[in-house]
């Protein structure tokens, strides 16, 4: 499944692509081709601007002093850039504690998800015709379509019954189940890519079933497991809806919830600290995502459709 995707080869054009365009160039009239090229670059520029301008504005706002934020003609680049907004953000809201809560919830969710998903994904990959594997695939597909509200109401009632409302443990349980479909999907793909012949060869050499799993399969699966865990971490770190419903006391709340506290009840926000805190909240998932992005895009949907 983690098939090499040319789209992800990296910045440079491949030899094949270059040759392709040279032949095309020799054939077509140059002026028309140049016009087409210009159009393409304009479109690319438009895309880059559309992608980048909100981000740049967020960064700009985060570093602006109050006077510039209140001015009627806000500029792109702060005249007097400042870190005060970051300091103020920590003063106004319990950012550190909420980051701690987010970290605990996301780490626990990622570790537990992968720990319970890996064995099942392995079975799904090796016995993909079994009834169990089919049922699991069906559940994965269906779980994509369900409005969370239909699941969260009963979960809320049940968790309340067992006193796990307003606790990170309850949230972690929900996150685990929420990440499971995608984790199973990813991991089953990675497991399919482990050659059965290697396992069989080890078995012929007299290794027991567990031995084969531990010393042959697991090492080959590790990169996939790490990618899946990081993905589950990011998902939990960014999650908002379940945390909003399940966590009531500010002491327990995760970072996305605390961010909304910067926006007052009247919708009037303290813009500088809001932007500063938002930037900080984004950094961890951004860094992790950059590490695994290739694996996610090429490994999942593309692979799934091809198989």
């Amino acid at each position: 499944m983690p098939s090499p995707v040319p789209g992800h080869r990296g910045p440079g054009p491949s030899p094949g692509e270059v040759r392709h365009h040279r032949t095309a160039g020799r054939r077509g009239p140059t002026a028309r081709r140049r016009a087409a090229r210009t159009g393409q670059y304009l479109a690319l520029l438009g895309y880059l601007v559309f992608l980048a301008f909100p981000l740049l504005w967020l960064v700009s706002t985060a570093f602006k002093p109050p006077r510039e934020l209140a001015s009627l003609h806000p500029g792109w680049i702060p005249d007097h850039p400042t870190l005060d907004n970051f300091r103020q953000a920590f003063d106004e809201q319990p950012l550190l504690r909420s980051a701690g809560n987010s970290l605990i919830a996301s780490l626990a969710a990622a570790v537990i998800t992968v720990a319970i998903a890996t064995p099942m994904a392995y079975v799904m990959a090796r016995h993909h015709r079994s009834a169990l594997s089919r049922a699991a695939t069906g559940w994965i597909v269906v779980s994509q379509a369900f409005p969370f509200v239909l699941v969260i109401i009963p979960l809320f009632l049940v968790l309340k019954e067992v006193r796990l409302i307003d606790s990170l443990s309850g949230l972690i349980m929900v996150y685990v189940v929420w990440s499971l479909p995608f984790a199973l999907w990813m991991l089953a793909g990675y497991a399919r890519a482990v050659p059965r012949e290697l396992e069989e060869a080890a078995a012929v050499d007299g290794a027991g079933r567990l031995r084969v799993l531990v010393s042959v399969t697991m090492p080959l699966l590790t990169p996939g497991i790490v990618a899946t865990a990081l993905f589950a971490f990011i998902t939990a770190w960014n999650e908002f809806f379940f945390a909003l419903v399940l966590l009531k006391s500010p002491r327990k709340q995760t970072m996305p919830i605390i961010l909304t506290h910067f926006i007052g009840t009247e919708g009037v926000a303290d813009l500088g600290p809001l932007a500063a805190a938002s930037l900080l909240a984004t950094l961890p998932s951004l860094v992790l995502f950059a590490l695994i992005q290739r694996r996610i895009t090429s490994g999942t949907l593309a692979g799934a459709v091809k198989h």
């Binding site: 998903a117 809320f156 908002f240």
Partner: protein
């Protein structure tokens, strides 16, 4: 038969760790949620919850606010998904070309994707801000984009498009790698124009992945919550109150669990029907191919 037994025999202990939480925390609550739709379950109720049959659904039928949010939800899902898909398709074809700065768009595309939805909402609030926002400053206007009845929904739709555009683009780009280059070149040699090459070579190759991602993104949009919750909270005057926001308020602000669950059931039904139509179209297409 023997083989299957052999397969599942040793496998149960590998499957249980995942199967138990799936049954307890996913399948169970789902069935419970459907059951709740037929009860008068409420927050803080002292007398026992009772079965009330289809009463919740009858109330839903008459609830103009629900239908309004249902309509807004459909408008939102279509208005986001369709332009997003078309833009993404164009961009994927563009980025598939050998252009300079392609790496930059790839690098940038990661950011919206990895950002918490809450932050995306906050970021665009800053862009749309009546006084300190870059949009008014650039256009020389003085509008409250998110606060006025006429612009709120379009403004939110733009954010919806922005938020997942990279995701859809990169997925389609991955699909484009399936397109056999030789076929493309052969078609060009035969004098086929760009459009004919797209119709005859590119589209058939990316069709499965295009259908999959368009269905997924439609579902994601129907189920949107955080983005709009942060941007407008459903306002002004309910103009952006998507079904999920409506159901959330019913359940966790007014404590109407049974009623909100019924709403969830209606949404599931609609999404399932749309998905079924989509899948049938896909199967039919495969037959033709």
């Amino acid at each position: 038969m023997a083989r299957r037994q052999d397969g599942t025999h040793g496998a149960w202990f590998l499957v249980l760790p995942a199967l138990i939480p799936i049954l307890l925390l996913s399948v169970g609550p789902l069935l419970y949620g459907i059951a709740l739709a037929f009860t008068d379950s409420q927050a803080g109720r002292t007398d026992p919850t009772q079965w009330i049959g289809l009463l919740n659904f009858q109330d839903l039928l008459r609830d103009t606010l629900f239908w309004e949010s249902f309509r807004i939800g459909l408008v939102w899902a279509v208005a986001v998904s369709v332009p997003q898909f078309l833009l993404a398709l164009g961009l994927a074809l563009l980025l598939h070309q050998d252009l300079r700065f392609r790496w930059l768009s790839r690098a940038l595309a990661i950011v919206p994707w990895a950002m918490p939805e809450v932050v995306v909402g906050i970021m665009w609030r800053l862009v749309y801000h009546p006084d300190a926002g870059v949009l008014n400053e650039t256009l020389g206007t003085h509008r409250d984009w998110l606060g006025s009845l006429s612009t709120a929904l379009p403004a939110v739709v733009v954010v919806g498009i922005w938020a997942r555009l990279p995701q859809v683009t990169v997925t389609l780009l991955a699909g484009l790698s399936n397109v056999p280059r030789e076929l493309h070149e052969a078609a060009a040699m035969d004098g086929a124009g760009a459009w004919r090459r797209f119709r005859a070579v590119t589209w058939p190759a990316i069709r499965p992945i295009a259908l999959a991602i368009s269905a997924l993104s439609f579902i994601w949009n129907v189920n949107s919550f955080a983005l709009v919750y942060v941007l407008t909270g459903g306002g002004p005057g309910g103009r952006t109150r998507l079904p999920m926001l409506f159901a959330y308020e019913e359940a966790f602000r007014y404590g109407q669990f049974g009623y909100a669950a019924a709403m969830g059931c209606v949404l599931v039904a609609v999404v399932s029907i749309l998905l079924a139509v989509h899948l049938v179209a896909r199967l039919k297409g495969d037959d033709e191919a």
